[in-house]
């Protein structure tokens, strides 16, 4: 049966080659879109490692740091502004952060560790940060004001970094670089929120506002009591302006920043999805057309088969079999090519499980679509009357 089908397909190889090319291209498109969507869906529901509700940010500008100086000339001002913010009864706690969540600023760092190259995403924060963001410390401890006296630079890493660098060893107290030592491990922290990579490999460095330690961050991040009114944004801004007339203050709510941030990052996938939906539907229509045309043209062949005893179901199975064979050939080609992607480092972008399920979903979708396209033409073929067909044109 399959050999017979192969012969039939080979017979019209040029038309079929084009059909195969089309199905192949559709497979690649479906694969890319489904994998992207699946990977996003999977990431969306992972814990964030922080709580963004009732968190506000205050950006201080106009008092820019000199990145080269050993001490930040504006450090006392920043320290005073942070103290002012913390003094409000509406504020649960506040801290400084250089690159807070859902922001466009990111600090990527490529480091050598025990002869390996590790990629980290970092942030410089002050002691209150973990409390503001409601982060969970899994091992060791978070920064405290007493750390000012340490002779080394304390560092807190997230669980992903701990596993990557130390495996089963206890990371607490380990040296990272010359003068850096790990003092704590927090739950995986995903700075880009729901759209972050599943393992962002996050590390926190401590910044002190009470001793010289290079430029200090310019973002105040604060947790307010639930239900605090927008008026309070203005109150904060007024108080800070009164303390430091040099400083421009922008207050934003993290929840709203998050909305905008996620919209910007999900809309390309939505757009891609719509475009590919239209491409696929076009291919489906085209395929139906071609199959239909083929059936009409092969009326005599089908009639002959019917005349020598094939049932309508047999004929139907033949047409669908041919479609399935074409699809299989195209998908074989597609699978072979897609399977090469991990060699190019695709697993750094998507997890193997997502990759495989994306492939499976794409395979199933394409089979379903092509067989659906074959449904009407094959039914048409099964209704051919042998007597009529044999004298057709």
């Amino acid at each position: 049966m399959i050999r017979h089908l192969l012969k039939l397909v080979w017979h019209r190889k040029r038309t079929n080659a084009l059909l195969i090319a089309e199905i192949f291209a559709s497979f690649i498109i479906v694969f890319v879109v489904v994998t992207m969507a699946l990977s996003l869906l999977l990431r969306w529901h992972q814990p964030l490692g922080f709580d963004y509700h009732d968190v506000w940010t205050v950006r201080l500008s106009g008092i820019e740091p000199d990145f080269e100086a050993a001490d930040d000339a504006h450090r006392p001002v920043v320290e005073q502004l942070l103290r002012e913010v913390r003094s409000f009864p509406q504020v649960v706690d506040a801290a400084m952060s250089a690159t807070p969540p859902y922001g466009n600023a990111t600090w990527d760092s490529i480091r050598d560790f025990e002869g390996r190259t590790v990629r980290l995403t970092c942030d410089s924060v002050t002691d209150g940060f973990a409390n503001v963001m409601r982060m969970r410390v899994l091992r060791g401890r978070w920064f405290t004001p007493a750390d000012d006296a340490l002779s080394y630079q304390p560092m807190v890493i997230d669980a992903d970094v701990a596993r990557e660098l130390f495996g089963d060893r206890d990371p607490i107290g380990q040296k990272f670089d010359k003068d850096e030592r790990i003092i704590g491990v927090v739950a995986p922290y995903r700075k880009n929120g729901e759209v972050s990579a599943t393992a962002e490999h996050f590390a926190f460095y401590r910044k002190s506002l009470t001793k010289p330690n290079g430029p200090v961050p310019r973002m105040i991040i604060l947790r307010v009591r639930p239900g605090t009114s927008p008026d309070f944004e203005q109150t904060i801004a007024q108080r800070l302006h009164a303390v430091s007339p040099e400083t421009t203050v922008h207050v934003h709510r993290l929840e709203r920043t998050r909305d905008g941030f996620l919209r910007v990052r999900t809309s390309p996938i939505l757009f891609l999805g719509i475009v590919s939906l239209f491409l696929i539907s076009m291919v489906a229509l085209g395929l139906t057309g071609v199959l239909w045309q083929t059936v009409t043209r092969r009326t005599r062949e089908i009639g002959l088969r019917r005349a020598v005893g094939a049932s309508g179901t047999n004929v139907r199975a033949q047409i669908l079999g041919e479609v399935a064979l074409l699809t299989t050939l195209a998908l074989l080609l597609g699978t072979i090519i897609v399977a090469q992607l991990p060699l190019l480092g695709a697993f750094r972008l998507v997890q193997p499980a997502v990759f495989v399920s994306g492939m499976a979903a794409a395979l199933a979708t394409i089979y379903a679509i092509t067989l659906l396209c074959g449904a009407y033409p094959s039914w048409l073929a099964s209704t051919v009357e042998p007597a009529e067909a044999l004298r057709y044109e």
Binding site: T15, A25, I29, E64, H241, T247, M282, G286
Partner: protein, 412 residues
Amino acid sequence: MQSYVKLALKVLGRRKVFTLISLFGIAMTLAVLVVATAILDDAFEPRAPQSRFDRVLAITMVSMIGPRSTETMNPGYRLIHDYIYTLPGIEAATAFSEPAQIGIYRNGGRTDAQFKRTDAAYWRVLDFRFLAGRPFTADEEERGALVAVISDGLRKRLFRREAALGRSMEIDGRDFRVIGVVPDVPITRFAAYSDVWVPHTTARSSDYRHELMGNYNGIVLARTRNDLPRLKSEFAARVKRIPIDDPKRFNRVAASLDTPFESFSRGAFPARFGYDAAAVMRIILTILTLLFMTLPALNLITLNLSRILERASEIGVRKAFGASRGALVMQFVFENVVLTLIGGAMALVTGAALIAALNRVDIIPNAQFALNVRVLLYGLVLAAFFGIFSGVYPAWRMSRLHAVDALRGGAQ
């Protein structure tokens, strides 16, 4: 010619389902391309308030390059002030900050707005149509007067139906007086986009005046388009003379004056200076367009091919009566082109509807995309190209049929 058109329409009318399937594919493909072109056109063609942008050059990024690291940021005010304002033989030059989102507090509520600091020359480089009031003057810039120009959209959000001129609003903790109202600007026009414009001198601190890198953008308006190359090379020479703040880490400053499209392309690539970014961007856009058109074209080719044999007897007759292969190829390509032109017309209608929808829903702030003659022309060129692209192979296959086979109803 006329008979070709008649013939093509006849053929298309004969198999309505196939024609519809083909048309659907063509129309949707071209509609997407028409919308994409309209968006690009909106961003890079000179349109109010950027009507003079065919003779401007912009600087939107600066790199500090050292042996171990490269830092790239917007230029700071000092760079524009010292090296751009003073370029010889220009009509005007302006500096404006990157738009920032701010909250304007009024009656216990917060209104979000895009905010720009700029100079008085800005209003000469860009041609805003003032709905009310006036721009701020060089004198007001000098004094750091607390005056603001706002967009009509912001006026509606803040003051509803009331007149805005002379009203005050709190920005950055101080009261600014509204002196002008301009129409909303689409986000695609990077130099013009904002809701509030105030003199840069109203900043609380004057630190920004000393920055080589910061959050400003600069634009030069040349007297004529012919001046652009001269200005580019003059600025390139000046960049070499910029003293480096931190010679331990950096040994070179890279910056260039770019046309708006060049500057957009430069921002899109990680390695930023030292090659023709605009050319790379054009190639990428062309390849993407071709890739996008490939699947619909393949679809059309297979549909056409599967119809060859249906038309075998027609081809046989024409061949038997001496039609050359060239004539046949011409005929079939022509049919395809007619089909795609009809599809193109449908695409323009669909595209117009999509653009109207995009303008209405607020996905792209203040979008005012429009189908214009240029987009229409692009659409036609794309349609014709698509028609030929997808018509040649089937036509060649058809023309190769032998007359005798064809008359019998097809060769296998």
